[in-house]
Symmetry: C2
Subunit: 312 residues, 2 copies
């Protein structure tokens, strides 16, 4: 269980401290939990990161490149040395707890199509109805923490400003996490029945603000798109207003590599930390996938290993 | 006109750039405006400040103490050398444009009871109905930028997360600013009629989260107080929840120096930047003051000097 991967997202570190002080306040189903602050230096500084984004620092080539000595790459290596699948206290599964300024509600983010992750997401979606954002195939955004563990996903809750602590965001985070632990416990006990289908929002790409030649923004997000995460968006819908106040439709703002769709489902709209990444919002396509037996078998096997003592 | 006094409040710098590129986009009534980014280094870094809060760096003893060499104190001296009342391009009046994570709406903040400031606030309140927060007599919070100019106030708009740009917040900021300029133009022309009364929310003090001996928070803001800025709050109302989830009423959280009141009016509730200042929210008392003729006379005199060419 990792919180504070970004140092200005304060809810998960607050919860970690709370659960440490009072283990009975989390229904952990007997799993041996490791409660870890991802980036303690950034948390102390109240900043997302010190040198670079820790949650983009887990790409194997960066971890292996000894010229990479940023605080966050060092911390990524340390986390793997301690808690990685071949670490001193090996963990099989990681749940990385985040918050966002976007109105994502309580949601799950998966990186790629690992059967274990998909089974866990399907089980949580069945219990709580949480939307799932499947991030994959984006060369511009890689090196996420959960990718380095055999199984894992991100719990992403918002909207909440950076640096602010809200009770409701803590409660939503804990509800998603307890649902995850309940799914794992049911899988280990052989009691888990997954739903016939999983609804995923599959990442297609990201859209940046209009910019001038010097890189400064030449427009603003259109007010109708504020807090419209997970809602359908068509190419004729306005997404920006330009410097003269005119609306810019999605169709005119789409990067050429994005596949044409009648309807997109936007996520991470106006996330504060993504301005510097050139992301005003990301676009997904909403798909309903059948849940094959293999997913459940994989998760059941992993859960039994977890309950035999390999810590979560 | 100053924006970006805090580098992670992005709306005002955006507007300054917009007005510079297109002066016709601001109804400036012929006033000679100086458009100034308060803290360019912090803005570039996307942080509130680099060394210390610029908007607490204008206390005369800090400005005069040559041992004070933080980036922000140096910048405060530079702003005064350039634009202060005895600077190279002297300005008589300053409008400092801020945003907040608190649900303050579009509001005005005054520091002390200068007749000019009060007249300007009364004129804006008459036009737009904006609430006024009168900050005074708080030794823990001093050294505000606008205090070093003969007249000036803060336009404070929220809620918006740090680092996020929202069109609606830009529009509210511009509306308040244009109302201020229209009031000044009317005063200079001898056309200004002030309302008979000004409603102020007078600062009484601030309340911190419950904390442990190591300084870490031992509670959260009560959900019923989220976004309840400017709404009445009584001593029996819950303001925090403690670690075990129990509500803490305001009466049990009040610092001893705060005057007893039947009703308080809270402001800056859960402002992200105030955690480090030990402020979970501030308390005011709501008062309706008669508007004396002196206020108008002072503002009219200042406005005429402004229109004779002394830049704003």
């Amino acid at each position: 269980m990792v919180g504070g991967t970004h140092g200005n997202e304060r809810h998960a570190p607050w919860l970690l401290e709370h659960w440490r002080a009072d283990p009975g306040s989390l229904a952990h189903h007997g799993f041996a939990l490791q409660l870890v602050v991802g980036n303690p230096e950034a948390l102390a500084a109240g900043r997302r990161y010190i040198d670079c984004d820790l949650n983009r620092s887990f790409a194997p080539h960066r971890l292996a490149d000894l010229h990479q000595q940023s605080l966050e790459v060092l911390r990524a290596r340390e986390l793997l040395d301690c808690h990685g699948p071949e670490g001193l206290e090996p963990a099989l599964l990681v749940l990385d707890l985040h918050s966002t300024t976007a109105a994502m509600g309580n949601s799950l983010v998966l990186y790629g199509r690992r059967p274990c992750d998909l089974a866990l997401a399907a089980g949580i979606q069945q219990r709580l109805g949480l939307p799932v954002y499947l991030h994959e195939a984006d060369a511009a955004q890689s090196g996420f923490l959960v990718e380095r563990w055999p199984c894992g996903l991100v719990i992403e809750v918002g909207p909440v400003p950076q640096g602010v602590l809200r009770a409701a965001i803590c409660q939503q985070t804990q509800a998603a996490l307890e649902a995850a632990l309940a799914v794992l416990a049911a899988a280990a006990a052989g009691d888990l029945r997954l739903p016939p289908r999983l609804v995923v929002h599959r990442h297609l790409g990201s859209v940046d603000l209009p910019r001038r030649s010097d890189g400064s923004p030449a427009g603003l997000l259109h007010p109708s798109l504020e807090a419209a995460d997970w809602r359908p968006l068509r190419p004729s819908d306005p997404v920006f207003i330009d410097r003269s106040g005119c609306p810019v439709p999605l169709g005119a703002a789409l990067p050429p590599h994005l596949p044409a769709q009648e309807t997109y489902w936007p996520v991470f709209i106006n996330e504060a930390a993504y301005g510097e990444k050139g992301i005003a919002f990301s676009l997904t396509t909403r798909e309903s996938w059948p849940v094959p037996q293999l997913w459940l078998a994989d998760l059941a096997s992993l859960s039994r290993r977890l309950q035999r003592g390999a810590p979560l």
